[in-house]
C-alpha cells in the first residue's frame, strides 16, 4: 500500500545542503486508523518510517532498500486530529556502497521522531527468499 496521496499529502520538498526538507499533511481519515486504534487514532511509528522511505525515493528518484537502522526514537504519539502537518528534515551522506540517512520530524518546534539508517540501491541486497 502506497501512503502518499492516501495517508498523507506532500505539500513541499526543498533541497538543502546534504539533503532535503519536506512538509507533509496527514489525512485524518484512513483505513489504518480503524485498527490503530478504534476510537483513538494514533499514527503508527512504523508508518512514519514508511513515509520517510517514500520521501527518500521521491527525492532521489530511485528505489531504495533499508539495510540497517542504528537507532530511531519516537518522542511523541501523533493523534492525526491534533497534529495535521509535519516537517521533516533529512540529511544524506552517500558513498559508493551505501546511503546514510539521518532524519528528524517536527510539529512546530516539537520533535516527533529522529532516526539514523543505512540504505542501498534496491537491486543489491537483501535478496528475496
Amino acid at each position: 500500500m502506497k501512503l502518499h496521496g492516501e495517508f498523507y499529502t506532500l505539500r513541499e520538498v526543498t533541497e538543502k545542503e546534504n539533503g532535503f526538507s519536506a512538509e507533509i499533511d496527514l489525512q485524518k481519515k484512513h483505513l489504518i486508523y480503524e485498527g490503530h486504534f478504534p476510537n483513538q487514532p494514533v499514527t503508527p511509528g512504523v508508518i512514519q518510517l514508511k513515509i520517510v522511505h517514500e520521501l527518500l525515493e521521491h527525492f532521489l528518484k530511485r528505489k531504495l532498500q533499508l539495510v540497517s537502522m542504528s537507532h530511531c526514537k519516537f518522542l511523541k504519539a501523533i493523534n492525526p486530529n491534533l497534529i495535521s502537518s509535519i516537517s521533516l528534515s533529512v540529511n544524506l551522506l552517500e558513498s559508493e556502497s551505501e546511503l546514510k540517512v539521518n532524519a528528524q520530524s517536527k510539529y512546530g518546534n516539537e520533535i516527533l521522531f529522529k532516526m539514523s539508517a543505512v540504505y542501498h540501491q534496491k537491486k543489491t541486497l537483501p535478496l528475496e527468499l
Binding site: 500500500m1 480503524e34 508508518i47 518510517l49 537502522m69 542504528s70 526514537k73 519516537f74 537483501p126 528475496e128
Partner: protein, 138 residues
C-alpha cells in the same frame, strides 16, 4: 499454542487491518514465540513482498501479546502500547505474501511498564529481520 488467533485481540488493542500477529506459540519471561500468516491484502505487502515496516510491527505486537499474557492483564480493551525506540535493526531478506513468518521475542529489561526486547523474524529458518525495541505502556 498459548494464544489462538481467535483470542489474540484480548491481548493487544490492534484491530483490522492493523493486526500483525496471529498465534502465540509459546510464552515465558525468557522467550516468546509467535507466528503470522501474511495475507495478500496486508497493508504492508508491496509488490508481493511483506515489507520491513510490517515485520517491525509484528515484533512489537508479538512482544505486546506475550507480555500481556505473562502479566495476565486480560482486559476488554487491552491498553495501547507505544513504540518508543528501535535500535540495532538489521534487515536480511523478505518473504512473499501468502507465507507464514515465525517470530521470537527475548524480553531483555523491564522498568515499570517500559520494556526493552530483542526480536527476530524468521521464514523457513532464515532470519529476515532483527532489532531491539523499547515498548511503553503495555
Amino acid at each position: 499454542m498459548v494464544i489462538d488467533k481467535n483470542q489474540i485481540q484480548n491481548y493487544i488493542p490492534h484491530r483490522a487491518p492493523f493486526v500483525m500477529v496471529d498465534n502465540v506459540l509459546s510464552c515465558s519471561s525468557e522467550k516468546i514465540e509467535t507466528n503470522f500468516f501474511i495475507s495478500q491484502d496486508n497493508v504492508f505487502v508491496d509488490n508481493n513482498q511483506f515489507q520491513e515496516f510490517g515485520m517491525l510491527e509484528n515484533i512489537a505486537q508479538s512482544a505486546a501479546a506475550g507480555i500481556s499474557l505473562l502479566n495476565k492483564n486480560l482486559k476488554e480493551t487491552p491498553s495501547e502500547g507505544f513504540l518508543g525506540a528501535i535500535t540495532k535493526l538489521n534487515l536480511f531478506a523478505y518473504c512473499s505474501a501468502n507465507e507464514t513468518i515465525t517470530t521470537t521475542i527475548y524480553p531483555l529489561q523491564q522498568l515499570g511498564n517500559l520494556y526493552l526486547i530483542k526480536g527476530e523474524v524468521f521464514y523457513n529458518n532464515n532470519k529476515l529481520l532483527e532489532c531491539e525495541l523499547k515498548l511503553a505502556g503495555i
